[in-house]
Amino acid sequence: MSLASVFNIAGTGMSAQTTRLNTVASNIANAETVSSSIDKTYRARHPVFATMLQNAQGGDSGSLFSDSDSAGAGVQVSGVVEDQSNLEARYEPSSPSANKDGYVYYPNVNVVEEMADMISASRSFQTNADIMNTAKTMMQKVLTLGQ
């Protein structure tokens, strides 16, 4: 039944947004994590979203339309990538993490960008939760058929 797949679709949306919120939390938490070498410094992480196709899941749910033209089955996180942009080197000889030249490396986390990302993710999460709620109301309505 296609109303049931609304739950699945909204569920994938919520889980993808949760992953996004997780990476934001990780990035902000590590925004000031300094390190003495470029290799060991934390890099900002970003999830990569991709459309999930119904055929990949298998099974057709009595659709009104042809198999090739399904509604899709939501969104998936196809991976988490590390930001490869340049790290910030600061001259802080007093820092215990400073290297022999007195420099420490700061992560390439843009806190403002992360905050905007967080708001966007939480709004998208809310929207998906609302979608689920409306689908629930529609299903409950169907259950009263003939009463």
Binding site: I9, T51, L64
Partner: protein, 135 residues
Amino acid sequence: MSISFDKALGISEQALKFRAQRAEVLANNIANADTPNFKARDLDFSTVLKEQSAKTSGSGFEIERTNDRHIDADTMAVADPALMYRISTQPSLDQNTVDSQIEQSNYAQNSVDFQASFTLLNSKFKGLISALRGD
């Protein structure tokens, strides 16, 4: 005498199915609101209605013949014209065409339409029940 549910319920059942299907498509759009390169899609009610009524009347797909020498192609399959891509109002950096507000309002409207179709279907069932009871 037998009761044919298909005849008794008419298009209401298909309409309800359509609303559920459209809810799925719109939910998919909203779930993919942040997916790069995703193109928002929607179902067109009139196209589906035409297709469904063609299916029930058994005529199927036909091409218009304006000349005697044209070959008719009534067995040709329709490549599902109902699911279409939305034309975006604003460009976006990641080529995503989902506008959350439009999708949400469409979803809300679809949900109300679903309830309306349901009420119609329910009243048909109620009519059948009262006819069977006869009181």
